[in-house]
């Protein structure tokens, strides 16, 4: 009997390790041989821990599992109180277009045989017959843009590095996924680490880089563990090292751990941190593509950008480009979080409206109360009111509404949310995490907290002051931390003015 149970952090946080132990104990007590595979999560976090039992018809899903639900896995499966039927037939799975996350949850994350059986290393194999300019052109043609938030065309970045002359070049994977509501990087690294390794290897070959780093935040212990093991396995099989797949071309990589600084998700801070320095932001230019890690040409790409590379080479740029809308091509792993009935990871082509995501896919709030606001793009993203629910999910479309899609995380709030408090939190968070290099961010965030507090005390004169401060931070900050903190603050002020006036009226 074969049972799948995720090792994904979300599943573990909800008791998957204890369920795994109970499954083994139950199997032993019954004298049944069970092959228990700890896989990635299918992304339905509200069903985690979700066990799957392999049957001739396909995998059957059971969740959310409690210890008391374990014995039932060994009895009449159809009668199990947590049975949901075939995983592949669940509405959440059926409507998705899983390209980057195709294998996550399906395979044993640390089995190279499994990875290969599901299309793994087909992309890299194809690149071995291509020269570097052709590889870069393929990425450009796919329309892939940086999934970390900035949305910069990946092919253009690669081209700059590929054409730069230097004795050493580097591929740096930004896995410092610190935005609240985002967990796609984590799920990918935990559930299908070889996809990232393959994507980075292709990047290395295309750009002439022989060394790669994955900078993973310390808050992700399971992802660090899985990635470290996967790199060792890939190296042992000659997929990394002096001659990648016997091609004679070298590429190897190292896993590095962050140290709790949010700002290191900004690429130049990350490079400083990787070099062993304080994680302060560097002024651009010079671009990291020309002077990056240790001053050498460096590709800095997000996990999802790099993990989307293998499928682009496996199925072709045209195939990937066929999904999406406008200038947002391909698929995007939505991360639906916060106060939602159905939260988790949902990969789909760009173009759904915010309302469709929140009402249809997420099923509204967990609390059953009306949705008040949705923060899109993490702590630096704007709060969207219901009135903007018709906004299609795309880079330009969200920018047009004074927002951003960022890393595609969505936090849903019910009507209990106090938007003045959320605006204050945005400033407080910026103050805590500011690297201190530029004044608008370092001082502005502190003043921002004080100014929001003045508004809370009923001082309406502080509102234009806050708007002015936000304009200064937006225009004058070196990076997105100070520059984008005004998005949540101003969107809260613009779309939920009542929350900024209530205190005053109460005082009068």
């Amino acid at each position: 009997m074969k049972i799948y149970l995720p090792l994904d952090s979300a599943a573990v946080a909800l008791g998957a390790d204890e369920i795994a132990e109970a499954i083994r104990a139950e199997a032993a007590a019954r004298g049944v041989t069970v092959e228990l595979i700890r896989n990635g999560s299918r992304g339905m976090v509200w069903l985690e821990p979700m066990a799957e039992v392999d049957t001739p018809e396909g995998r059957l899903a059971f969740g959310p599992m409690n210890l008391a639900d374990v014995p039932g896995l060994f009895g009449d499966l159809a009668a199990h109180p947590k049975a949901h039927g075939l995983t592949a037939a669940l509405p959440w799975m059926v409507a998705q277009t899983r390209l980057t996350f195709a294998r996550v949850g399906l395979i044993d994350p640390l089995s190279l045989a499994d990875y290969r059986a599901h299309g793994g290393y087909a992309g890299l194999t194809r690149t071995l017959t291509m020269d570097a300019p052709a590889m870069v052109a393929e990425v450009t043609a796919s329309g892939l843009r940086g999934r970390g938030g900035a949305g910069f065309p990946t092919g253009i970045k690669w081209k700059t590095v590929s054409e730069a002359k230097a004795d050493r070049k580097y591929i740096v994977c930004n896995a410092d996924e610190g935005d609240s509501a985002t967990f796609a990087d984590r799920m990918l690294m935990e559930g299908d680490p070889f996809t990232l390794i393959e994507g980075m290897t292709i990047a290395g070959l295309a750009c002439g880089a022989t060394k790669g780093f994955v900078y993973i935040r310390s808050e992700y212990p399971i992802a660090i563990d899985i990635m470290t093991k996967a790199v060792a396995l890939a190296r042992a099989e000659g997929l990394l090292g002096a001659s990648v797949m016997g091609s004679g071309k070298a590429f190897d990589m190292e896993i590095r751990t962050g140290a709790g600084a949010y700002v290191c998700g900004e690429e130049t801070s990350l490079l400083n941190s990787l070099e062993g320095k304080r994680g302060t932001v560097r002024a651009k230019p010079p671009l990291p593509a020309l002077e990056g890690f240790l001053g050498k040409p460096t590709v800095v790409n997000n996990v999802i950008s790099l993990a989307s590379i293998p499928v682009i080479f496996e199925k072709g740029a045209e195939f990937y480009k066929g999904f999406g809308l406008g200038r947002s091509r391909g698929t995007i792993p939505l991360q639906i979080a916060g106060n939602v009935k159905h939260g988790g990871l949902y990969e789909i082509a760009f173009g759904l409206t915010l309302g469709e995501i929140v009402e249809k896919i997420a099923g509204g709030t967990a609390s059953g109360r009306p949705v008040k606001a949705v923060q899109v793009g993490g702590p630096l993203g704007a709060y969207f009111p219901r009135a903007l629910f018709d906004t299609p999910f795309g880079y330009e479309e969200f920018a047009g509404k004074d927002g951003l899609i960022g890393h595609a995380g969505l936090t849903v709030f019910d009507d209990g949310a106090d938007m003045l408090k959320m605006a204050r939190f945005a400033m407080e968070f910026c103050a805590i995490e500011s690297c201190g290099k530029c004044t608008p961010c370092r001082i502005g965030a502190v003043r921002g907290v004080e100014t929001v507090d003045r508004i809370a005390r009923g001082d309406a004169a502080a509102i234009p002051l806050l708007t002015d401060l936000c304009a200064t931070m937006k225009a004058g900050s070196l990076c997105a931390l100070g520059g984008f903190t005004p998005y949540p603050v101003l969107s809260a002020l613009t779309h939920f003015p009542d929350d900024f006036h209530a205190q005053k009226e109460a005082a009068e």
Binding site: A13, P221, K277
Partner: protein, 160 residues
């Protein structure tokens, strides 16, 4: 507790393990903290010398990052997520309960050295918040009762 000669020797061993590594300071600081539970003051000049940095530079790096501790934490470390997704599910309320149950505010360690309470900004458990990491173990969908159960398991009391 190690004496300073032992500390120095162990730090030298760690430095040796990281020889030739590009940008080795963060991995070294992580290793030193894993060994001692914090980054001892006396390790800074040793690290600085090995990397050809000034002691101030090493101190500057160490103090920049939230993870590195200048003094040992409590025997148990409770980190509660304070980020937006967890807030939308009542993290402030749950944190208030934990602070009261432990009698600690953020960044405080109990007088008996048993427990430290810290905020964390995102564990990537945003679809099953409020979330926490307690002595390295992840927890999701927290409420007051679950917090009490976790604290009881650690023999830290929990609310009456």
């Amino acid at each position: 507790m190690l004496d300073s000669a032992n500390t120095a020797q162990r730090v030298e061993e760690i430095l040796n393990d990281h020889k030739g590594m590009e940008g080795a300071l963060l991995p070294i600081l992580h290793a030193v903290q894993a060994e001692f539970g914090h980054v001892p003051q006396e390790s800074l000049p040793i690290i600085a010398k090995a990397l050809n940095l000034s002691r101030a530079e090493v101190h500057g790096v160490m103090s920049f990052y939230h993870d590195f501790r200048a003094a040992p934490a409590g025997r148990h470390v409770v980190k509660l997520c304070r980020a937006e997704s967890c807030q939308s599910m009542g993290a402030d309320r749950v944190a208030g309960h934990a602070r009261q149950a432990l009698g600690l505010d953020w960044h405080e360690t109990s007088a008996d050295g048993r427990v430290t309470l810290e905020p964390v900004f995102c564990l990537g458990l945003c679809a099953c918040g409020p979330a926490a990491i307690v002595d390295g173990k992840l927890h999701g969908r927290l409420d007051e009762a679950k917090v009490d159960a976790i604290l009881r398991d650690l023999d830290l009391g929990g609310a009456k």
